[in-house]
Symmetry: C2
């Protein structure tokens, strides 16, 4: 079904409030989910809300806290998320680090004991729009095998990079896995095969069976180099946040475990002026105008496609699978009450 | 021919001194080249010295300067390399940033007007050995095409990441191109074809002709994701260092142009203790022990292979192509003098 972004936002916010989130926290978490839907990343969208609510009800997500933040050094903010909502804890940390970075040129946050951040582009864009550079990292459950190895030992460890540019910031957001586990689940649900280089089965053998891949491991993107980067991000985050590594990471895919992954944000404040911005933006336009190879419609800059999608969906609405929308309606106590009242009358 | 690392180091240092480098600067530049040879990266090794000397003689590399360093904010060191030797300017900046990062938790250097850095692993390892995390970036001439585009518009933009670990630090060093341009030149020299996904010719068509690829563009590693990362690093460095972008970058492959690329180092000081180090090192050992897939001897951690190579070559010596060694001997004035004296006697 098609739902307007504002209707979906209102419902998501209401559900979060009903489950104990303050007005502001509900707005932050809902905005992240709606922005993911707008940009075409349904895997980070409203379908995630059910798990978030389950985690609140199970006591492994606290929708009221913003976490404890301590500047361990002038440039490094250490954050104990206190099991808060991922984007709530992150946004409060991010705003503090952004302010500090404006003062001293660079600052970082290392966050542990925080719930799932969702789409990293949301954070990178927030910072880039304020004229700063953001490097965003987060770890996840081990779903990716090392290059040449048979077992899932590394998270899908996304990176987002936001850089100020005109008329809109440059925003890269990518996992270091070749594909998302959600994509493999989609294929399994539709009983479609997957390409043999995407994943291995539980024995570590390449498989085209999406169902078998679900209990196996996803390949890293970019072969040995992508593996190396994903591993480096796993270590980088863990060293700074003192968060769990590899198969010890829990709590972003389930409803019961305390989430022990880590998040790291590095914010840099460039001193470059308007002339430079023109130079950079002209370069990006030149790359967009690069003559496409056979089989390609054109060259796109990271963030272009999701921005176009967002623009369109603001007008046409969000395509939400019926079962996801029904689940949201069931999560909403006031909606349920409304239905009961309707039935009684 | 096989030359001991110390003999090669002595010759390289002598050549640099004879061309105006101070004792310390000659040692720094020579150490970088020798360490590249020891690790098996001949493309960053002694063969580069001829170009460095040509650049000194042409006045686009100054072997005496360490550049001008200014803390524009407490966390951001802005460096005008004053056309110094790449590793000399970088090491002085790095040491200052490392010290500041110890004090405030994180600090960065943005360097412009500096010559080629060479192997980034050398810098990342230096920092990781001191217990800090290093993120190292440098841009280069545009040799890489955007994903789906026909023209070289992006540098090979390497990244190095160094992270403290036991018994040796984790050191990742990789270009964001699929292969090095040096590898394509090697194939052209040997008149061997290249795989069709490595590069395009000057018209932007995929080619297996290494000679044609030399005037074309190399593919980014990891398809769209690797392209996105390489582009992000191009912007990141350029915004911070106010260095040139894309096809405007010059001076790392020629002997005449002032080098206008940029370098960025971010150094973070984790507060983690010995217990954590054990945890991280155990994780790395577990990844090394991951059962290999068919066709693989084992899983390796970035830096392992080059470390093993270094250990071996310290004992067995460096395999240097005769023409590279002869070129070094010709560069050495005192060696030439020695030969002339021998001929006269």
């Amino acid at each position: 079904m098609i739902v307007s972004a504002e209707e979906a936002r209102a419902l998501a916010t209401e559900i979060l409030r009903e489950n104990g989130a303050t007005e502001r926290h509900a707005e932050i978490q809902a905005d992240l989910l709606i922005e993911a839907e707008l940009r075409g990343y349904a895997s980070h969208g409203l379908f995630r809300l059910n798990r978030i609510i389950e985690r609140i009800r199970n006591g492994v997500a606290d929708p009221r806290t913003i976490g404890d933040r301590v500047w361990v050094t002038p440039g490094m903010l250490r954050v104990d998320g206190k099991m808060g909502l991922g984007p709530v804890v992150a946004v409060y940390a991010l705003d503090e680090v952004s302010k500090r970075s404006h003062e001293i040129g660079i600052a970082a946050a290392a966050i542990h004991n925080n719930n799932h951040l969702g789409m990293l582009a949301w954070y990178a864009e927030r910072i880039a729009q304020s004229g700063q550079i953001a490097l965003c990292f987060s770890t996840s459950e081990a779903l990716v095998h090392p290059w040449g190895g048979r077992t899932a030992m590394i998270g899908t460890n996304p990176i987002a990079i936001g850089i100020p540019a005109q008329p809109f910031p440059f925003v890269l957001d990518m996992a270091t896995s070749l594909v998302a586990m959600g994509k493999i689940h989609d294929h399994a649900n539709r009983r479609e095969p997957i390409p043999s280089h995407w994943a291995v089965d539980q024995h570590g053998n390449p498989t085209t069976d999406a169902e078998a891949a679900k209990t196996g491991a996803i390949a890293p993107f970019g072969e040995a180099k992508g593996y190396a980067l994903g591993l480096a991000f796993e270590l980088l985050v863990s060293v700074l946040a003192e968060s769990a590594l590899g198969a010890s990471v829990k709590g972003t895919l389930d409803s019961l475990d305390i989430c022990n992954k880590g998040d790291v944000f590095i914010i840099l404040s460039p001193g470059t002026g308007a002339g430079y911005n023109t130079y950079l933006s002209a370069y990006l336009d030149a790359v967009r105008a690069c003559r496409p190879m056979a089989g390609f419609d054109g060259v796109s800059i990271p963030g272009d496609r999701s921005r176009a999608c967002r623009q369109q969906r603001l007008e046409t609405g969000l395509p939400i699978p019926d079962e996801v929308w029904d689940q949201l309606l069931r999560l909403s106590a006031s909606h349920a009450l409304h239905q009961i009242q309707g039935a009684i009358q």
